[in-house]
Structure formats: structure tokens, C-alpha cells
Symmetry: C2
Subunit: 334 residues, 2 copies
């Protein structure tokens, strides 16, 4: 398997990218291509000992910044680390792409260059997040601010296949994010989507109110990309705020400082349990290739886990399974 | 001032209702009417010593349950504790209503019986929630699952007036919940709303990504009721989940148990800081009266604080100020 990694994406590039790639080739049977400034990447690579046959640099001269207009940037910057990487996937020279750069450009680029799976209305960004009982997926998390019921049905099916194949969950549960538990609750989109999900070949558990999301009792949480993005960011923001506040208050007295020291293992465990880096990146499901968006603040470990995620994707033929499932859905309708 | 309290609403009725009312009449210069089963309420009242001139029972024979269809229930159950209370406000026999019962029935009842302020498109449920720096308001939190840009503009104006008058914040900031910070980000609703808010007579700070909501840096967060309801519930659910997990892990060893004991003041402070009960209930803004929805799990303190909130509303003529602001808005457009 060949994985291409965008060497110029993310807050800690290219050093974290390079370090993650080197850790990955030592553990998985893969080759890695890194796109980006050959000079910078070579300098980072020099710091490590590794099998030089397994990592190649694809030199590029442009970088797409986070602030740029996604579609424009992808169309104009043909020699950017992202676009070059995407073309390698398109041409079959790489089996998967990972980037921690601009989310907008990544989504636009995957759709424009790698393309959609036939029958998929809209690919969806699908991060897996830590929950109390189990990790859960929010699909879509921002690729589609405006959605139709049929898109959400497909999100549910794609999420199910992901959980079965990547997280090895048997008969994963699928829920619809909604503002009430009864079928008739919600907005027009959620009401219409409920009907479609109920009739689909899914372990559909009905509406899930946002209060229940963090428990992780439901595996796949389906929603439009606007709602999903709000959920993703609010969840991150709330966890961060609580720990900020606790930290400030723990530092306020000697007694509480000692208490905080004694609780270090608890906070450490929590930090580990709630570390998105454990789950790799957010898969962009529905495109015709393995496309994984790593978090902008990804460190070497996060890159390594995103690469691992790509290998599981590959080994389990997830893209082919998505194609089959969508074909089945189209046949049922016909 | 006369406040009517729905004696049969909430998880701890009528005892928490009665206890909260008694605490309130001792502190504020008000009279209270409690609607509900005279027998049950009288029994609770008997347990307390108080000025009997200040609390009256309005006997009712019906109760609206949480599971009932809101509009149907309000239309059919004329002798319910909620409908009777709403009619007292409508007829001018009470200046404010507080209920911890079914949110749907409360919103439907306020709109149908008390009525909207002239010029208001849609009243909005507007709870104030604890933030890191300051409390913040989410408006709308579920009264309007489907919204138009003009509704959201009015939400912003109503939120501003609330913050000025109830929380005494000078020139409160108003933000639009969105999935990116730039003006062109979001769905059709948020893009169109951005333009309206920018031109309005508001301290509009632009788009606010959900990650920033818990900081409390922005006072009033405007969104459609679907998104707002998701935010409200996810925020509550995430805080609860984190403390559940911490508690479990603290109880796991002797070391961490001692640490937990030492940190009791920290957790206690946090619990107090993040206690919605401190902020009373969620105001239903835009109806022609003071209508406050208390949390379903309200205890006596929460009821007392909701009553306090109603008195500030009354003393500051907030409903009249809302009317004036909406008139100004209509005049500007004309």
C-alpha cells in the first residue's frame, strides 16, 4: 500500500508529519510519499534513521493556506502539496491521502480531483470522537452546510460501514440528531430523514437528543454539516473550557494543589481517553478513494494514527464496500 | 407585582414549587398565585410559616404531561394548571408566569394565550448559561426549529435588551453561531442573517464558532431553534459526562480518593459556577408578557431564582422595551 501525506499541512509541519510517517513505516507494511518542499522535508528526514526505500519526497512549490478560498485555491495551485497529493490518488499512484491542512481545500480537492463514488449525493466528513461508553461518529461534520434527507440517509449507511470495518463494531447503531425523542419532532429535514432511516437497512435507534451524544451509547450520529460542525466544535470547546477552569481553581490554594497532584493519574487518563489523536483523522466518506483529514493541530502520534486508519481502510476494502452499499440502495429504489 | 406559578410543572412539584414561592415572598415585594391541585398545594404550604396573604391557590383539575401534543393539550385542557396560569397573565390578573412543565406546551400556550408582541415574527426561548468568563445566552433554543433571517435579527435585538436590563451589561455583544469565522461561511440562513445583523443597531461581533461559545466572551448567541437546542443540550450533556467520568476515576484508588477529597472546594465551586439554577429559567422573549420556563428538574432555589428573574423583568419594563425596539425596527424599514 502507498500512502501520500501532505507534508505542508497542519500547525506542526513538516516535522510532525515526518516523525509520524517514520513511526508508521516501522509499524505498518506501507510506502509513504510526502508532498511538499523537498528541502524542508529532507532536513527533517535527516534527523531520523529509517528504511529510505519506504519514504519518498514529491517536491512541490506551492502551499494552500487555511484562509484561502477552497475551490479557487485547489483550481489555481496545481503545484501545491495538497493538489499534487490528490492527483497521486486519482492516478492510482497512491492508495490513500492524509492532510492536516485547510479543511475546506481538502474537501473541495477530494471532491474535485478524487471524485465522488457513483451514486453518492454528497461525501461527508466523519470524525470519530471519544464518548463515555464508546467512541461515536458525527456525520456530516461540515462538508455540507445545506442537506437533503437523502444525503443524510447515505451518511447513515456510510457511517455504519465505517464502524463495521474500521472499528469492528457488529451491527452499529445509527441515530438521528434531533431536538426531541419522538418521531414528529424537529425541523423539516429531520422529520423527512427519520422516515428514510427507519425504512433503511440499518440498526436505526431513532432520534438522539444532543444531551445523549457524549455518552457514546449510539455509534453513528447523523446530521447536516452545519449541526455536525457545531457539535464537533462545541464538544471540543466545552471539554477545553472545563479543564481550563478546573486547572485555574486547582492552582488557587495549597490544599487544592496537593489534591491536583494526587489526581494526576485521573486527569492523565481523562486526557488520553478524550484525545482525538487516538482515533486518527476524520474520514471523508463517499469519495472514490481513502481520504483522511487530520486535525490541524496533529502531532506525530496523530499522523501515525491517521496512517494506521488508512491502512485499515485499505485492508478492509472500505471504499469498495461503500460502492456496493450505495449500489444496493439505488437498486432498492429502482 | 403578582406572579403566577404553575404548581403542577416540573419533576419536583408541587413541593419544590411551594418551597421556592415561600422563599421568594420573604425576599421580594410580590404576591404569588399557584395553580394546581388545591389539596396537594395546601398540604405543602402547611409545612411552612409564611404571610398567608401573599400566596393564593388557584385550584385546577387538569395537568398537561410532558408527552402530550403541545397545541392539542393547550387547546383541550382548559382547566390545567398551565392554561389557567396563562389566562391570568392574559387577563392582567398576574404580571408574570413561571412553569417547569412541558416546554412544548409552555411555548404553545404562551403564544396562543398570552400572544406575541406586535411586530415580533417569532418569540424565542432564551436561556442564559454559565460560561468561563461570563454567562451567555443562546437564542433561540428550540421554539423555532425552522427560521428565517429576519427572525434571527429579532432574536439578536431581544437578547441585547435582556442582557442590558436583566444582567445589566452595557452594550452587550451579539454573535451569530456559525461554522466559520468569515462572513461568507455557513448555510443560507446564516449567510443572510449575517448581513442583517451587521446592519442592525447592535454590538455585532460577527460569526462565533461553537468552540468559542463556552468561553462566554460573547453575550448573546443567535441561531435557529434547532441549532440552539442542540447547543443547550450538548453543553449540559458534556459537562455531566465529564464529571461522571472524573467521579468514577477518582473513586478508583485510595490516592485519587484523597485527591478528590482535597479538591472538594474546586468541584463545589465548579458545580455552583455551572449551575443553571443560578440564572433562573429561560425567558420566552417576544410574547406579550413575562413568561419564564423553569428547567424541568428545578428545585426550590431554581424556582426562587426564576421568580427573582421575573421581578427584574417587571421592574425594568422589559416587555415595553422590547415593544419599543421592535417598533423602531419596523419604522426603520418603512
Amino acid at each position: 500500500m502507498v500512502v501520500v501525506v501532505d507534508g505542508m499541512g497542519g500547525d506542526f509541519c513538516p516535522n510532525a508529519v515526518v516523525e509520524g510517517c517514520i513511526a508508521a513505516i516501522k509499524e505498518y507494511n506501507i510506502e509513504i510519499l510526502i508532498t511538499g518542499s523537498e528541502e524542508l522535508i529532507r532536513e527533517e528526514l535527516k534527523k531520523h534513521t529509517y528504511d529510505t526505500n519506504k519514504i519518498k519526497i514529491i517536491n512541490t512549490t506551492e502551499v494552500i493556506d487555511v484562509g484561502e478560498h477552497p475551490v479557487m485555491a485547489v483550481k489555481r495551485k496545481k503545484d501545491s502539496s495538497l493538489v499534487k497529493a490528490l492527483n497521486l490518488v486519482k492516478n492510482g499512484e497512491a492508495d490513500a491521502i492524509i492532510s492536516a491542512g485547510s479543511t475546506g481545500a481538502f474537501l473541495a480537492g477530494c471532491t474535485l480531483i478524487v471524485g465522488r463514488i457513483k451514486g453518492i449525493n454528497r461525501p461527508a466528513l466523519a470524525p470519530v470522537m471519544p464518548g463515555k461508553k464508546m467512541p461515536f461518529m458525527i456525520i456530516d461534520c461540515g462538508a455540507n452546510a445545506e442537506c437533503k434527507p437523502n444525503y443524510l440517509l447515505q451518511f447513515g449507511l456510510m457511517g455504519k460501514i465505517y464502524f463495521e470495518n474500521i472499528l469492528k463494531v457488529v451491527n452499529p447503531s445509527v441515530g438521528l440528531v434531533n431536538i426531541g425523542s419522538e418521531e414528529e419532532k424537529g425541523n423539516e429535514l429531520s422529520k423527512a430523514t427519520f422516515k428514510l432511516l427507519k425504512e433503511a437497512n440499518l440498526n436505526f435507534v431513532g432520534n438522539v437528543e444532543a444531551r445523549e451524544i457524549p455518552t457514546g451509547d449510539v455509534n453513528v450520529l447523523v446530521c447536516d454539516g452545519f449541526t455536525g460542525n457545531v457539535i464537533l466544535k462545541l464538544y471540543e470547546g466545552t471539554v477545553a473550557t472545563i479543564f481550563d477552569l478546573l486547572k485555574t481553581n486547582i492552582m488557587a490554594s495549597v490544599r487544592t494543589k496537593i489534591g491536583g497532584m494526587l489526581l494526576k493519574p485521573v486527569f492523565k487518563k481523562f486526557k488520553k481517553d478524550f484525545d482525538y489523536k487516538e482515533y486518527g483523522g476524520a474520514a471523508f466518506l463517499g469519495v472514490n478513494g481513502i481520504c483522511i483529514k487530520a486535525h490541524g493541530s496533529s502531532d506525530a502520534k496523530a499522523f501515525k494514527n491517521a496512517i494506521k486508519q488508512a491502512t485499515i481502510f485499505y485492508d478492509n476494502n472500505v471504499v469498495d464496500k461503500l460502492k456496493l452499499e450505495i449500489e444496493k440502495l439505488t437498486d432498492e429504489k429502482a
